[in-house]
């Protein structure tokens, strides 16, 4: 499960900082790959959720209707009569995700006007007077379960992708037990189920397995 380790609203920015590694020891190339992929995934999933009039945050509040007067005003100005958090689109256009050290930072950065709007919806400051429509996680919160599930797979796949498994490593494997033990050594931070999934999703490695007739032991 990812964990939001920081959430803040300042005059110019509103952001969340998310740790995707759930205490798994991931370093080097695997870490870099996972962060890059997860950053873009969280960016997309946040905008997908808002476009679907829902929060991407587990337990996140999202009022699904507009009040009558504002709805009429929004429609008369060319917008959709639903709370998709956009009229002209400037706030969502300012939304970004970036890598910060070993974490991912999401939010509106260095843009006072749009950050203020975003805080109106997320209420990190506690001063918002409009209904909450949360699209950034607060400290301690996580994302909804389908997002979390995919984040975990992104990390597992990056780990499997970065491990050096060659055909010659596998040539002396003649039993399911030996194979599972070998995978346990190569991918010690993943569970047996996570190992299997990440191997099956890895083109290069699964081809080795198939060439050597080992794929059958990954059932």
């Amino acid at each position: 499960m990812s964990k939001t380790i920081q959430s803040k609203a300042t005059g110019r920015s509103i952001f969340s900082v998310v740790d995707i590694f759930e205490e798994k020891k991931v370093s080097g190339e695997a870490k870099r790959k996972a962060l890059n992929e997860a950053k873009d995934f969280l960016f997309e999933q946040t905008l997908e959720a808002v476009g679907s009039i829902s929060s991407p945050v587990s337990g996140g509040k999202y009022k699904k209707t507009l009040n009558k007067e504002y709805r009429a005003k929004k429609v008369s100005e060319g917008g959709r009569g639903v709370p998709n958090l956009e009229l002209e689109g400037d706030m969502l256009n300012a939304f970004q995700a970036k890598i910060q050290g070993s974490n991912i930072k999401l939010g509106i950065l260095g843009n006072s006007k749009e950050a203020k709007k975003a805080d109106g919806h997320n209420n990190f400051s506690g001063k918002s007077k409009i209904p909450t429509r949360q699209f950034l996680p607060q400290k301690g919160q996580s994302y909804k379960s389908p997002i979390e599930k995919e984040l975990a797979r992104i990390v597992d796949d990056a780990v499997a992708d970065s491990v050096d498994i060659t055909k010659s490593d596998l040539r002396d494997i003649f039993s399911k037990t030996a194979l599972l033990a070998f995978l346990g050594e190569k991918l010690p931070d993943l569970t047996p189920s996570e190992r299997k999934g990440s191997i099956l999703r890895n083109k290069k490695v699964s081809e080795f397995f198939e060439d050597l007739g080992l794929l059958k032991w990954l059932e």
Partner: protein, 165 residues
């Protein structure tokens, strides 16, 4: 005939011929097209790193507010007026195990419109990329993860069946 398309290899393993059967290709093709439309209808490019589509120009926004087309709003920018370009998004399974996704086998004006948006070739129309058709471009991570999930599921199924006595 000109096309705006991308072709990617589903060569996940050498069990290829079994892996990319008609049903799997259909799951992938239909799923990818559906997810592309979901992205686009929310103003998001289905191409990784291209982010949200550029805003409509002020003059076009005025036309929309004036009732250009029923249901059309100034945002999200969704590349949709009549809907015929989005409806033309399609997929095709090839005999070599590849799947083609894009706009092809359709009216020339639709293809031209798609190229204009995808490549930004018109002086007054900014690029709004929705098909990864150039070297180095790829689908959004959301779409790529969907593809991986389908592969994994299909591979598990093949392994299970081949292990049956």
């Amino acid at each position: 005939m000109a096309r705006v398309k991308t072709t990617f290899k589903l060569d996940f393993t050498k069990m290829l011929n079994k892996l990319v059967d008609k049903r799997t290709a259909s799951t992938l093709g239909n799923g990818i097209v559906r997810k592309m439309k979901e992205h686009m209808n929310k103003g998001l490019s289905p191409v990784r790193k291209f982010g949200r589509f550029v805003k409509y120009k002020e003059s076009y926004r005025k036309q929309i507010k004036g009732g250009l087309s029923r249901g059309k709003t100034i945002s999200p920018v969704n590349l949709k007026l009549s809907g015929d370009m989005q409806d033309a998004l399609d997929w095709e399974r090839k005999s070599d195990g590849t799947v083609k996704v894009g706009i092809f086998n359709t009216r020339r004006d639709i293809v031209q419109r798609a190229e204009t948006h995808n490549d930004g070739t018109h002086p007054h129309v900014p690029q709004r990329k929705f098909i990864p058709d150039k070297e180095g471009e790829e689908f959004s991570v959301t779409i790529q993860r969907f593809i991986k999930t389908v592969y994994e599921s299909r591979l598990r199924d093949i392994i299970k069946r081949s292990n049956r006595p």
